[in-house]
């Protein structure tokens, strides 16, 4: 009777707007009298200055103001620290404008506001700052050493945080080992690079004392709190709206970037709307980065390939500040053992300041790193013991009969990593079958004789998803019969409006077209945190379900009064409540909504409206899992790699909308392939970024991404009512290790071992030739 919508490949309601140019991205917002801002950014990785001379810039016709740290007053106090860490030694957060000292190339020093962006950039050229450059700490390993130049002069070391975590008998594991693998593994620095850069538009309405901010943020509610606080305004006077946002991937959640404060500050000061649109170069130097870690691991194994224990000491490049906390390191260490039954794990990380842009999560938030380490270790232990890469994994997997199996690791949001509701051996079997892994292995000897180097790689992943904090959703049936759904967490293209509508429409038995969804506006719904960590479906989806179920219960109650039939004998269908078996005895939801607002007879202490809000937090989070497998062909004369086949086996529990799930997997995998073979940020010794354009930062295009074959294993999560496990980051997590494994397998005759990603053709040719100077010159 109720139409099933959860699980259906419903067309995305967002697409018609997005694909026909009718979306409203930040740069589409044009307000009367609007001015344009540009940011003066530090050209030095580390320098002091005492004087900013803006006289020539201010003299340029059309320039309205140049704002420096001295103008900001209390608005320039350090930004909040988002995540604590028990090992923090020197937490340091950034300020909107650098007060006399800059710590990375790209740090904001002043804001120019002018009639146009062109003029604002002309004015930037005219501002003089008396920088006195100082030695910078750029290389992560060197920066961690005593005696390195200090990023923060008031500390005695660049180590911001040192944290250890242990479970199981690690000493015992190594004592019992037949074999110990020791090596250093490096996922290099990269960045999310969403298609739309960041941007802020702010308007201050003096007569209402209201500040409205359009912001490409992934967390408008949280951003409102920080901005109001810094500007000394009540939250009630500040509205933050995340309009259509063209991709986030983590880089757009930060509390807050300088411009999110500077633009509203300028709009208020000047009494004119102000727009700032980040250009791509700014995005490379003024937005956050991710990825670089250096892991030194020791893996204890038996001769038959059972992993007994792992020690991982790693350095985490925090960039110049650590306002997000060392969250990527926390996630990397928590997810390290993946789907494997490793009795003892010891991790220790040092988050290190360097004179480079701040590091914060990017799709996977440290999980791609932890995953690369574990999966590379699996390959290397297998190689050392003469085992097949698939076989060693099979031997170590947590099996369904072991579950629930507590790994002993604690993920972000204080979520224990407890394996359940998934069948890892079945995932592996499916991957091997889809890849024809056995076939690849069979053909290898003959192919190698002919100089054909084909290889297969596989990598598992377990992904922490539905993490704290909570999100909330309100569902309200209007007397028009429409159902209004509001939530605080915004969308950056994930299709939340479609999936929320599916959940609510199915629960209330209304056509999805009747459901109106709004999100990402702090003036409509101001609870919850934001969109990150593959958690929207888990926390937001279950809140939507809870709210819709409460509305349904209330509708049945109201209909029971109206029809004088017990609620148990009533059902919802086609936008109405009717008597079971007697559909002609019905009352439409619209009429119930009307009845729920008895304006003349409402009893004090009761609430009007057919509506409910629900807030959901999953104490045990949720974990998705799966396997990536691929076949590559390596051109042994050029080091170029072609991906011949790519298979993803994926279990994210119940799929609310399989099309959207596929989209998340495809996009994530594409970003993962970018991190495996293309995308790398580099700096010179003085901290100058060497990669600030898409000519140098090689994002794979549609031409480089092979067709990706997806197999779903939909096993329901027992941890939340919807049975979802979350999707979003999974695609990006195992691609690094899977690709590296495939290249190693192809180049097995050369004894190739991959210890750093991204690979590039010179690195691959170096593996073939046994060179050690594989990496590019800088």
């Amino acid at each position: 009777m109720t139409t099933r919508l959860i699980g259906e490949p419903v067309e995305r309601r967002e697409d018609a707007r997005l694909l026909t140019g009718r979306a409203r991205f930040i740069d589409d917002i044009r307000l009367p009298g609007m001015l344009h801002a540009a940011v003066l950014r530090s050209p030095h990785a580390k320098a002091r200055f005492t004087r900013i001379d803006a006289a020539a810039a201010l003299a340029l016709p059309g320039v309205h103001t140049v704002i420096t740290h001295e103008d900001l007053g209390t608005a320039n106090t350090p930004m909040p620290l988002l995540n604590e860490d028990p090992g923090f030694i020197h937490p340091r957060t950034h300020q909107a404008l650098a007060p006399g000292q800059v710590r990375f190339v790209g740090e904001a020093v002043a804001l120019v506001v002018a009639d146009s962006r062109y003029l604002a950039e002309d004015a930037l050229d005219l501002i003089e700052v008396d920088y006195a450059p100082e030695a910078a700490a750029v290389d992560l390993v060197a920066a961690a050493k005593p005696g390195a130049p200090l990023v923060h002069d008031d500390t005695d070391s660049n180590v911001a945080c040192r944290t250890a975590d242990s479970n199981g008998d690690i000493e015992g594991a190594f004592a019992a080992a037949d074999f110990v693998l020791r090596e250093e593994l490096r996922p290099e620095r990269g960045a999310a690079q969403p298609m739309e850069t960041r941007g802020v538009v702010a308007r201050y309405d003096e007569s209402l004392d209201q500040l409205t901010i359009w912001d490409t943020t992934q967390a408008p509610v949280s951003a409102r709190g920080v901005i109001a606080d810094k500007l000394g305004l009540p939250e009630a006077a500040v509205t933050v709206i995340a309009p259509d946002v063209g991709g986030g991937f983590g880089v757009k959640i930060f509390l807050v970037y300088p411009e999110e404060l500077l633009v509203p500050f300028a709009a208020r000061m000047l009494g004119r709307p102000v727009k700032w649109i980040e250009d791509r170069r700014e995005h490379f130097i003024g937005s956050n980065h991710e990825r670089l870690m250096v892991h030194r691991i020791e893996v204890a194994a038996t001769t038959d390939g059972c992993i007994l224990g792992i020690r991982d000491h790693f350095l985490y490049d925090s960039g110049a500040y650590c306002p997000y906390g060392p969250i990527n390191a926390q996630c990397a260490q928590a997810i390290l053992p993946g789907p494997y039954k490793i009795p003892a794990v010891h991790t220790e990380y040092e988050a290190v300041y360097t004179n480079t842009p701040v590091v914060s999560p990017y799709r996977g938030a440290g999980q791609p790193h932890g995953n690369f380490v574990m999966e590379a270790a699996m390959n290397h232990v297998a190689r050392a013991l003469g085992l097949d890469a698939a076989e060693i994994r099979r031997r170590n997997l947590v099996r369904p009969e072991d579950c629930p199996w507590d790994s002993g690791r604690i993920f972000q949001g204080n979520t224990p990593l407890i394996h359940r509701d998934s069948d890892y051996p079945a995932q592996l079997a499916k991957t091997l079958e889809a890849l024809d892994y056995a076939g690849v292995k069979r053909s290898q000897p003959a192919e190698r004789e002919q100089g054909i180097f084909r290889g297969a790689g596989i990598a598992f992943f377990v992904e922490g998803t539905g993490i704290s904090p909570y999100e909330g959703v309100e569902v309200r049936v209007e007397p028009t019969g429409h159902v209004h759904v509001t939530t605080g967490y915004p969308s950056q293209g994930q299709g939340h409006h479609t999936t929320l509508a599916q959940i609510v429409a199915e629960t209330l038995a209304v056509p999805p077209e009747q459901v109106v969804v709004e999100s990402g506006r702090s003036d409509r719904f101001a609870w919850g945190v934001g969109t990150f960590a593959s958690r929207a479906a888990v926390v937001g989806g279950n809140a939507a379900l809870g709210a819709a179920e409460a509305v349904r219960a209330r509708a049945l109650e109201l209909a029971s009064d109206e029809l004088e039939v017990a609620p148990e004998d009533l059902v919802l269908a086609d936008g109405a409540v009717h008597v079971k078996g007697a559909p002609q005895m019905a009352v439409p939801l619209a009429a119930l909504a009307y009845a729920a607002d008895p304006i003349n007879t409402l009893e004090s202490g009761t609430e009007p409206g057919l509506r409910a809000a629900d807030y959901y937090r999953s104490p045990d989070g949720a974990f998705a899992s799966g396997v990536h497998g691929l076949i590559v062909m390596v051109d042994a004369a050029t080091g170029m790699v072609e991906i011949e086949k790519y298979v993803v086996v994926h279990d994210c529990g119940v799929m609310i909308n399989p099309t959207i799930v596929d989209g998340q997997i495809l996009g994530g995998t594409a970003q993962g392939i970018g991190g495996a073979f293309y995308e790398k940020l580099r700096f010179d010794e003085a901290g100058q970024p060497l990669v600030t354009t898409f000519m140098d930062y090689l994002i794979p295009t549609a031409m480089e991404i092979p067709p990706i074959e997806i197999h779903h294993m939909e096993s329901r999560s027992s941890l939340n009512p919807l049975g979802v496990k979350g999707v979003g980051e999974g695609g990006a997590i195992p691609a690094l290790a899977a690709f590296a494994g495939a290249v190693e397998d192809a180049l097995e005759p050369f004894g190739a071992t991959v210890r750093a990603v991204p690979l590039d053709p010179p690195a691959i040719l170096a593996l073939i030739e046994g060179r050690c100077e594989g990496r590019a010159a800088s």
Partner: protein, 283 residues
């Protein structure tokens, strides 16, 4: 990423364009497809006072065959040359190489003349024009002159054009019967500038082997050409030509690739392009 201020001129014919260039001395720059110049402006790496837009000069966009030679107007779009039937018949290495330039959107705007005048040190068209012994027709205030490809490409983003000269046409001589050709490129992604690209043209009376991406623009690999000329066109000759080309290349380390790697590419790609050319010669 907004350009500094500039004045804009939009001449209707070559004479007017040349006069504008002369009037502004070195401060004026021709604007063709804008696919290289506009990024330079946006990065404020180029700051011309005046842009002389060539896009309204229809006479410059023609592609025709006359006296056996291919005559490409400087403003002919790369995509137009790529799709031209006469070009495909007589000079098939051109569409093959143009297919490696960027993406269709960029080739729809980017011009052949713009690419040659810009002379990026890893661009495909300069290398191919050198391999084809093309001639560049330049028009200046003093009149017209013809510059052989060998003289035209003068180093990284340098050409023999004077600031007040316009490149108006490229003349590509006909390829004799029995000519074989090969074009090989290694780039990180489809459409990226070449890490290394090699153009080989084997005519019955001589070989052309041109390598680009290893230094300051396209370079004739004379030793490789000599190997092929001496040893004929067997597979071993191609192996040796690859070695000779690599020995003559002196790439430098850069962030995309170390020097040794580019040298390896020269070997591999020269061999492959040569083998391709040999196969085509036999047809």
């Amino acid at each position: 990423m907004k350009p500094p201020p500039f004045a804009y001129e939009c001449p209707r014919d070559v004479a007017e364009a040349v006069a504008l260039l002369a009037a502004h001395g070195g401060d004026a720059r021709p604007l063709a497809g804008g696919q290289s110049l506009v990024p330079l402006l946006n990065f404020r790496l180029a700051r011309p006072a005046v842009l002389v837009d060539l896009n309204r000069i229809e006479a410059l966009a023609r592609i025709r065959v006359g006296d056996g030679a291919l005559r490409i107007g400087a403003m002919a779009r790369q995509a137009a040359v790529e799709a031209d039937a006469d070009v495909a018949r007589g000079w098939p290495i051109l569409p093959a190489a143009i297919g490696h330039i960027a993406h269709p959107q960029i080739r729809n705007r980017g011009t052949v003349g713009g690419s040659l005048a810009h002379n990026d040190p890893a661009a495909e068209l300069p290398a191919v024009m050198l391999a084809l012994d093309a001639e560049m027709i330049a028009q200046g205030p003093q009149g017209q002159r013809t510059i052989a490809a060998r003289e035209f490409f003068a180093g990284t983003m340098e050409t023999a054009l004077r600031p007040d000269e316009l490149l108006t046409e490229i003349r590509v001589p006909a390829l004799p019967e029995g000519t074989g050709w090969g074009f090989q490129e290694a780039a990180r992604r489809q459409g990226d500038f070449a890490l290394v690209a090699v153009a080989v043209v084997l005519k019955p009376d001589g070989a052309r082997v041109v390598v680009t991406g290893t230094g300051d623009g396209p370079a004739h690999m004379e030793a490789a050409e000599a190997v092929v000329a001496e040893r004929g066109t067997d597979a071993d000759a191609c192996e040796a030509a690859g070695d000779a080309a690599a020995a003559a290349s002196e790439p430098a380390d850069d962030p995309h690739a170390p020097a040794w790697y580019r040298q390896k590419l020269v070997t591999a790609l020269t061999r492959r392009a040569c083998r391709e050319a040999v196969i085509r010669m036999g047809r």
